[in-house]
Amino acid sequence: MTGGLSLEVTNLSTTFETPLGAVTAVDGVSFDVRPGEVLGLVGESGSGKSVTLRSLIGLIHPPGKVSGRVIWNGQDLLSLPSGRLARVRGGEIAMIFQEPMTALNPVLTVGLQIEENLRAHTALDRGQRRARAVELFDLVGIPDAKRRLENYPHQFSGGMRQRVMIAIALASNPRLLLADEPTTALDVTIQDQILKLILSLRDELGMGVVLVTHDLGVVAATCDRVAVMYAGRIVETGTVVDIFDGPRHAYTRGLLSSVPRGGAERAPLLAIEGTPPALSALPPGCAFGPRCSFATDACRDARPGLLTIAPDRQVACLHHDAVAANRGQVA
C-alpha cells in the first residue's frame, strides 16, 4: 500500500457554447480531496456540481471547454494526453453515476462488464479475473455472486444495480471514487445500505470520495468536509460539523433551514425566496444577491471572493459575520 494521494483542483472552469452565448457552468472552482476523506459537493440543480465532477476526469466533450488545473499524483489531468488519461480514469480514479440503468450496458452480462474493467486496468489472467469478480460482488454485498455474474442489468433491482456499478468501479482498486448522486434514485432503506457500503469501502480501501448530492441529510450522514455550490461557484467550504452548526453564507443558511426538522411541525419553513438564476443571465455581483436578505449595495457591485476565515473554512460572502450572528435568532 503506497501512501494516500490527494487531488488538488485549482481554478477549474467549464464553459459551454450555447445559442444564447457562452455559459459558464463551473466558474473558478478550487478544492482538494485528501486520502480517505469524503468531500461533499452540495447544491441545487444547475449549480454546477455534476459538471465539476465530470470536468475532473475529462468527461466534458466539445463544445464544452475546461480550464484550470487538476493535479493528481503529480500530473495535471487536464493536460494529460487522452491515452494516459484513459488509464487513470476507471483505474486510479473511478466514477459511479446516478442512474445505473443508463450507465451499464444493457446487452452485456454484468460479469463481462466487470471483466472489461479488470482487463483494462489490471494484469490478471482470465481465471484470476473471474475470481476477482466474484470477490468484488461479495465485497459490495450481492448474494449468490457466481450465478449473478451471468445476469444482465435488467435482472437486478435498482439498489442491486447500484451495487454492480460500485463493484465495477472498484475493480481497478481506485484511490479516488467520484460519486454523482449515487443514491438519488433509490428508496431510503436502500439508500442507507448503499451509503454505508461506500463508507465502509472507504475505510477498508483508504480511498478518497467526492460525493455530489443535493440531499443535506446524505451530507450530514456521510461527508467529512463540504463544499456548497451556487450558480457554478463554491460559496462556502468547511467541515461538515462546522457547516451544519454555523453556516456563514446566506445560501447555506437558507438551504439548511429549508429542510424541515422535528420539533416545529406545521410551522412555516424558512424558505429562500425566488429561484436560482439562469447561468446565461447571472446578476451582477454576488449571484445569490437577489434572493439574499443580507444583501447590500456592495454585494451588487462586485462578486465576493472565497475568503479563508479559519483553517479548513472558506466563505464567499461580504456579510458572513452577520449571517453567523443571525443564525442564533433563527434556530
Partner: protein, 333 residues
Amino acid sequence: MREPALISVEDVGKVFPMTHSLLRYMRGMPQLSVNALNGVSFDIHRGETVGIVGESGCGKSTLARCLVRLHDCDSGQIRFEGKDIAALEGTARRQFNRRVQMIFQDPYSSLNPRMRVRQILGEALSVHRMRPKAAIPTRIAELLDIVRLPSDAADKFPHEFSGGQRQRIGIARALAVEPEVLVADELVSALDVSVQAQVVNLLLRLQEELGLTVVFVAHDLRLVRHISHRVVVMYLGRVVEIGPTERIFSAPAHPYTQALLAAAPEMDPRRRNTAPAARGELPSPLNLPPGCAFSTRCPLATDRCRAERPALRATENGHMAACHLVDTHAVTA
C-alpha cells in the same frame, strides 16, 4: 365523539394484471398480476392532513388515484360522506370530482404545454361552472394571487415557468374549483430543497385559510412529519402502521416503520450510525410472501409472521400497527 369520517377507505384492493405471456398461457399457468393494494382501510377526517409514506411500489400513488377515482377499486370501497364513490353517477360524480382534487407529482407533464395559464385555469372554472363567464378573469387573478404568482403569469405558457412556479399553477388549478379535499401525490419531490420549502409553506397556509383536508403522499419522511397530523405507513400494498404523527415518529411500533426512520439520514452530522437499518430489498409484488409482507426483511420475524398475516390492531389512542409482536412487547421503540 368525533364527527364521522369525511372519507373512509374500507378494505380496498387494487390488482393490475400483467400481460399474459404466451408461454405461461400454453403451460396452463395463471396470469400474473401486481397486487398494488391489499385490503387498505383507514379514515380521513375533515380538516386534517393525512400523510401517506412508504417506499416505491408500496401502493401509495395507486391509493391516491383510487381516492380521486382515477382508478376504480377491485375490492372494498371508498366512501365520501358515507356514499360509495364507485356508485356516484352524473351530477353526483361531477360534484365529487369537484370537491376532491388531485395535484400531481410532475408539473412538467400534468399541465398542457399548449395552453396558457389563463386557459388552464379558465377551463377548470368553466367546466364546473364555478363563475359566470364575465367573472372568470377576476377569479383567475385572485387564484394567481392566492398561490403568489405575478399577475402577468396568466398569459404565459407552462414552459416559461420554473418547476416551483409550475407546481403553483397546478395548485391554482386544483383550487379553482373550490375543493374540500386535496390529494397531493409527491407534490414537491421534483423540486429543489429551497423551492420545496416555498411550496410546503404555501400548502400549509392554504390549508389554514381554506380549511382544506389534505392527503399528502410522499416518500420524504421529514416532509411528511412536518406537514401531517396523522401518518399512514404502507408496505407492499398494505397499511402497516397508522397513528398521530408525533407517536409514529417518537414511538414507532412496527419494525418496518422503525427501519424506515432509522434509514432516513439525520440532519445532525454528530449523530451517525454505521449499521444499515434494514437488510434486503422489497419482495416482488407479483409474488407476495404469505404472512406478514415485511417478514422477509424483519429482524424479529418468527414462524408465525411468515405464515399468518397480521391484522391492523390498535395499540393505544388512535395508534394502530399490523405486527404480531406488538402485543408481546417484543418490539420496542
